[in-house]
C-alpha cells in the first residue's frame, strides 16, 4: 500500500503558526480585545539612586481622560517579603518591588502608573507628573565597580562553580609562549520586537485573566498569586504568541505587576505597555571584563589556562552567569584555574540574554585562543584540534556526545578554510583587506521536567497541549512534529496548544531546553494515547491485531499497523468505536532520567559549534563587512531542519550585532542609559548581513535527552562574535579586545 511521505521528526516543515503570524491574526499580549479597557503608562525615575520626596499629580489628573495616578503612596496592599517576589530564576537578593516605597534603585525605575481612557492621554499625563527627588551618590561605571568585585555568598540556581586543575599560575609562569589580556563586552539590551505589555481582564468575581508578554505563563501565574495574594484558581495567564524575548521575559517584568495592581485598585480591565525606550528600563546582558592568560608549548599545546571574569549586577540582587567554565571544559590543558565575580552598579539587575554566560565567556575566551594560536604560529583551527578534548576537561567526565571535530571538518570544508594564508593582512580584495577567523561555540544541552497532554477524538483529530511558550523558537511546530511522529498522523490533523497557565506544567522557556523537554513530554503523552488505542482495538470483533503489544505495532496514517504484517491495519476510529470511546486523553510527565537518559546521568551534556567568518575591511577607513559565515552545529537530533536553521541564523545575526554594533551607553553622571531607542541602539540591519550557511553535523545521542535533542536556541550566538573579531585581526593585524568592534577601534 502506497503511503504519503511521512511527516514527523526531521521533516523540514513550515512553522504551523506561520500564517497567523505573517497575516497579523496572531494576537500578542497587548492586542487582546477586552471590553472597557483602561490604559496605563509608566512614569520612570529620572535619577539613579535616592528617594522620592514628593509626587505632584495635579497636572496629570487634570488631563482629560485620566482616571488615576498610582504611586507607592496610594497603591493597594501587596506582599512585602523578598520571598513573595521570588520567581523561577531564584536570583539571590532582594527582588525589585515596583511602587513599593519611595526608594529609587535605578534610573528608569517605574515610580508611578498613570491610568487613563486612552494610551495617549496616559502617556501625556505621565509626562506632567512632577517628581521631586533626594538624590544619593550612585555609580554606574562598571570599570569603577570592578574595584569592589566579589564572589556572591549565595549562588544562583543553575550556577556552576569553576573547578581548577593542576597549577595554572606556575604553568603560566613557566610557559614558553604566552598570551594574556583583558577582554571586554559592552552592556547590551535584549530588544525583542514585541515590547513588554500586559492585558488584564477583570471578571468582577475576584478572578482575572492576564495576557502577558513572558517566556513562562506559569511563572507569572505563581508570581501574581504570591505577590497579590490571589488563590491560584483565580488567576489565569496566557501567552499564546510572544514576539521574541531572548531572556528578557524569563522573569515577570514590572508591567505585569503594574497592570494587575491597577486592575485591583480600579476593579477594571487594564492594559499596560512599555514603549521602546522603556525596554531599556530593566533586563540587559551584564557588562563583562574577562582576564585571560594562556600558556603553551611551542607546538601549540596548551599548558595553562587562567580565566577570571567579572560581570555587572545591581545593588539588590546577585545575578550570576556561567562565564568562566566553558574554556576550562573545552580545552585539553593540564593546568587551569578560573575565578568568577560580580560587581554592583546602580542599574536594574542584569539578566539572562541569549546564551547567558557563554555568549560572553566563551566568545571572549575564543578571542584569546586566537591570540595564543598566533603566538604559537599554529593555524587557529589546527590549534583547536591540537588542544581538543573529547571529554569535559573541567569535570573529567565524558560527554554524551561531542561531534565538534566533525563540525570543524565540515565547517572548514564548506568555508574553504584550507585556502587561508596565515599572515595578517595577507589577503585582500581591491581596497579591502580580507580576514578569515574561526571560533568554537558551546552551550548546555538541558532538560527540564515537563508535562504534556494529548487528546485524540474519534474524528481522528489530535490535540497536544503543554504550558510551554513559543517565543518565536518554533515550539508549536516541534510539538506538532513529535505528535505526528509518535501517532502517525499528518500535521493538518494535529493542533498544538501552549502558552496558558492552565495547561500541563512546563518550566519557563529558556536555556534551549524547550524542544527536548516539551518534545519528550508530548511523545510520552502520545504514546499513552497509543496504548489506549491498542487496548481499544482489542474490542474489535475478531481481534485483527491479536494480542499485539506496543512493541509489535506502529502508528501510521491514522492506523495501528502490525509491524510483522503491515497489511493488518486498524484505523484509530474503528478501535475507538469498538471500545465505545469518543475521545482518549492522556497526560504524562517527562522527568530527567527516564529512557536512556540514566546512562548519561554522570556525563556532560553540551552542544558545540564551529564558526567560520569572513570579513572585508576597508584598509583606510576601517569599515567592516561580514561577508560570509559558516556555522557548523553539533546539537544532537534536529526535529525540524527549517525552524532549526532559523534559530541558528537568528543567533548568528545577533552574534554579528555583538561583534560590531550592540552597545548601550550609560551617562555615568546621570546614571542612565542614553541611547535607549532603536535609532541609536544599533542591531544589524539587512545591509550588515550577507551569506550565512548553517550545517547540522550528524550527532546521534540517545543519552542526552529522550528524543536525542539538544536544543538550538542559544548555540548560534556563542562564539560568533569571536570568529568575527578573529577575522578582523587576520584582516587588519589589529587586536581589538573589546566588543563591539566599532569603527573607531579599528581606525588608526
Amino acid at each position: 500500500m502506497a503511503t504519503a511521505a511521512k511527516i514527523g521528526i526531521g521533516s523540514a516543515i513550515n512553522r504551523v503558526d506561520g500564517v497567523e503570524k505573517v497575516t497579523g491574526t496572531a494576537r500578542y499580549a497587548a492586542e487582546h480585545p477586552v471590553e472597557n479597557l483602561l490604559y496605563g503608562y509608566i512614569v520612570e525615575a529620572a535619577i539613579a539612586k535616592g528617594r522620592i520626596v514628593s509626587i505632584d499629580e495635579e497636572a496629570a489628573r487634570a488631563v482629560p481622560g485620566v482616571i488615576e495616578v498610582i504611586t507607592h503612596l496610594n497603591r493597594p496592599h501587596v506582599a512585602w517579603t523578598d520571598h513573595s517576589y521570588q520567581d523561577e530564576l531564584k536570583i539571590p537578593g532582594s527582588p525589585f518591588r515596583p511602587l513599593y516605597d519611595d526608594r529609587i534603585q535605578f534610573s528608569q525605575q517605574p515610580i508611578a502608573l498613570v491610568m487613563a481612557e486612552t494610551f495617549e492621554a496616559a502617556r501625556y499625563a505621565a509626562s506632567v507628573v512632577e517628581v521631586a527627588y533626594a538624590a544619593e551618590a550612585h555609580n554606574t561605571d562598571f570599570e569603577v565597580a570592578v574595584g569592589d568585585k566579589y564572589v556572591p555568598k549565595k549562588k544562583r540556581s543553575g550556577y556552576t562553580a569553576p573547578k581548577n586543575r593542576g597549577d595554572a599560575a606556575q604553568a603560566f609562569a613557566d610557559a614558553p609562549l604566552k598570551a594574556a589580556g583583558d577582554y571586554r563586552l559592552a552592556p547590551e539590551h535584549h530588544n525583542p520586537m514585541e515590547m513588554f505589555g500586559s492585558t488584564v481582564e477583570w471578571h468582577g468575581d475576584g478572578s482575572i485573566t492576564v495576557w502577558d508578554k513572558t517566556q513562562g505563563s506559569q511563572g507569572v501565574h505563581a508570581y501574581l498569586a504570591s505577590v497579590f495574594g490571589f488563590s491560584k484558581k483565580k488567576v489565569r495567564v496566557l501567552n499564546p504568541y510572544v514576539g521574541g524575548a531572548f531572556g528578557s521575559g524569563l522573569r515577570p517584568q514590572h508591567q505585569v505587576f503594574l497592570a494587575v495592581l491597577a486592575a485591583k485598585k480600579l476593579e477594571r480591565s487594564v492594559r499596560v505597555t512599555m514603549i521602546r525606550n522603556q525596554m531599556f528600563s530593566h533586563a540587559y546582558r551584564p557588562q563583562a571584563i574577562q582576564s585571560i592568560a594562556l600558556g603553551a608549548e611551542t607546538t601549540g599545546k596548551l599548558t595553562a589556562i587562567r580565566n577570571a571574569a567579572t560581570t555587572s549586577t545591581s545593588r539588590y540582587e546577585d545575578n550570576m552567569e556561567n562565564v568562566v567554565t566553558w574554556g576550562l571544559m573545552n580545552y585539553d590543558c593540564p593546568n587551569a584555574d578560573a575565578e568568577y565575580t560580580v560587581a554592583q552598579v546602580d542599574t536594574a539587575t542584569s539578566a539572562d540574554m541569549r546564551a547567558p554566560g557563554a555568549a560572553t565567556g566563551m566568545t571572549l575566551f575564543e578571542m584569546a585562543i586566537d591570540e595564543m594560536a598566533y603566538e604559537a604560529k599554529v593555524d587557529p583551527l589546527e590549534f583547536r584540534l591540537v588542544n581538543y578534548s573529547p571529554i569535559d576537561a573541567m569535570n573529567g567526565t565524558p560527554y554524551t556526545s561531542k561531534a565538534l571535530r566533525e563540525a570543524f571538518r565540515e565547517g572548514a570544508e564548506a568555508f574553504g578554510w584550507s585556502e587561508r594564508s596565515a599572515e595578517p593582512r595577507s589577503m585582500r580584495d581591491g581596497k579591502e583587506l580580507v580576514g578569515w577567523g574561526c571560533a568554537t561555540g558551546m552551550w548546555d544541552a538541558q532538560f527540564s521536567k515537563t508535562s504534556a497532554s494529548a487528546k485524540l477524538t474519534a474524528n481522528g483529530h489530535l490535540e497536544v497541549a503543554c504550558a510551554t511558550s513559543d517565543i518565536g523558537t518554533g515550539s508549536y511546530t516541534v510539538m506538532t512534529l513529535v505528535a505526528a511522529e509518535t501517532l502517525g498522523l499528518p500535521p493538518e490533523q494535529i493542533t498544538a496548544k501552549l502558552g496558558d497557565s492552565d495547561l500541563p506544567t512546563a518550566p519557563v522557556e529558556g536555556g534551549s531546553w524547550g524542544a527536548a523537554s516539551t518534545g519528550a513530554a508530548v511523545q510520552l503523552a502520545c504514546q499513552a494515547v497509543g496504548k489506549k488505542l491498542l487496548k481499544a482495538a482489542g474490542e474489535i470483533a475478531g481481534a485483527p491485531l491479536g494480542d499485539a503489544k506496543m512493541d509489535d505495532v506502529l502508528f501510521e496514517d491514522g492506523c495501528i499497523v502490525l509491524k510483522d504484517t503491515p497489511t493488518v491495519r486498524v484505523p484509530f476510529g474503528d478501535a475507538m468505536h469498538a471500545a465505545d470511546l469518543t475521545e482518549i486523553e492522556e497526560e504524562e510527565t517527562a522527568a530527567p532520567g527516564f529512557g536512556d537518559m540514566w546512562k548519561g546521568l554522570h556525563k556532560s551534556k553540551n552542544t558545540h559549534s564551529a564558526i567560520f567568518a569572513e570579513v572585508k575591511v576597508d584598509e583606510e577607513l576601517g569599515v567592516v563587512r561580514v561577508t560570509r559565515i559558516v556555522d557548523a552545529v553539533a546539537a544532537g537530533r534536529i526535529i525540524n531542519p527549517k525552524t532549526a536553521r532559523s534559530q541558528i541564523l537568528g543567533g548568528v545575526v545577533m552574534g554579528v550585532g555583538m561583534a560590531l554594533h550592540e552597545e548601550t551607553f550609560p551617562d555615568h553622571r546621570l546614571g542612565r542609559w542614553m541611547n535607549h531607542n532603536f535609532g541609536e541602539y544599533h542591531v544589524p540591519v539587512h545591509a550588515d548581513i550577507h551569506d550565512i550557511q548553517v550545517i547540522f553535523v550528524d550527532e546521534p545521542d540517545p543519552e542526552v535527552t529522550p528524543l536525542g535533542v539538544k536544543g538550538l536556541g542559544e548555540i548560534g550566538i556563542v562564539g560568533t562574535a569571536a570568529a568575527i573579531a578573529n577575522a578582523i585581526f587576520h584582516a587588519t593585524g589589529k587586536r581589538v579586545r573589546s566588543l563591539p568592534i566599532t569603527i573607531d577601534k579599528i581606525l588608526d
Binding site: K431, R625, D744
Partner: protein, 337 residues
Amino acid sequence: MNRFDYARPASVAEAVQAGAGEQVRYLAGGTNLIDLMKENVDRPMTVIDINRLPLDAIEELDGGGLRLGALVPNSNTAWDARVEQRYPLLSSAILAGASPQLRNAATNGGNLNQRTRCYYFYDVATPCNKREPGSGCGAIGGVNRIHAILGASDQCIATHPSDMCVALAVLDATVQVTGPDGDRAIPIADYHRLPGDEPWRDNTLKPGELVTGIDLPAEDFTQNYTYLKLRDRLSYAFALVSIAVVMRVEDGTIAEARVALGGVAHKPWRSTEAEKLLKGQQPSPQAFGAFADALLAGAVGQGENDFKILLARKGIIRALKQAAEATPQSQTDKRVA
C-alpha cells in the same frame, strides 16, 4: 503628546496666516515631528498639516535649474529622472539616509528642518540647552560619540543629522521661504546655523516662516561627484561623518571642487576658502590631505568622538579620490569605492 489645535490649510497663504501664532509647527511627513511630540520634546500648541499645499512638484527653473517642492517626498526626489541625471549627488545622498519607508514619508522641507539626534535632546529627563534653554548641555562631558567636532559652542555640541542637506550645501542650493513678511530666498550656507549661545535655533527661519521649495542652480556635476557616508552599521544609521563632493576636472587638473561634511557640525560643514587649495591641483593624496587638514582646521573632539577627526580626514581623502576618478560611492553596494 500634549493636546494641540490642528489645521489643514489648502493654500500657502492660509498656512502662513495660521503659522503666525505661538508655538506653531508645520507638519509634513511627520517622521521627526511626531516622534518629538510623542517624546514630549516638542509641545506645539498648534499643528498645521501642510500636506494639502501645492508644494509637491519638481519644476524646471529658468536657466536650467530645478525647484524641488517642499512637500516632495525624499524618495520621489531621489528617483526623479531629472534629479538622477542632473544632480546624481543629491539622489545618492538622499538614498544614503534613513530607510525606504522613512524616505517615502519624509519630505524635502522636513528633511531641511529635522532636529538633531543628540541623545539628551530626546530624553526629557536630562539637561539640554536646545530643548530647554539654560538647563545645560548633557552631551558635553557625557555620551557624545555622535557629536560635533567643528563649530560647536560651550552651550551645545549637537550635529545636524541630514544627509540630503550635505549634498545641497555643495550644490549651492537656495531655500525658498515665505512667511508673515513675505517671500525670501536663503542660500543654503546661511540656512542652518551654528549653535553659539542660542542652541535652540537650528536655522535662520523666522517664526512662522514656511519652506516652499529648494532651488538647485544649473550645474554640471554629473561625472565627478560622490557621497560617502561612514556610520556605525552599513545602513539605517545616521552619519558619524559623511562627505559630499562635486568636482570639475579639466585636462587632469581640478578646475573646481566643493566639499561638505555631514555629522560633524550643527550645519553641513563647508569652507570655500579651503576649497581654493584644490583648484588647479592634480588629484593626489597629498593635495587631498592638505585640503582635509584645512577643512578640519579647528576641529576638536569631545572625548568619545575624538575619532571623528581622523575618520573625517580619511573620509575626505577617499571621497575626493572617488569624485576625481568618477567612481562615486554606490548606496546599495556597501563596499567603499
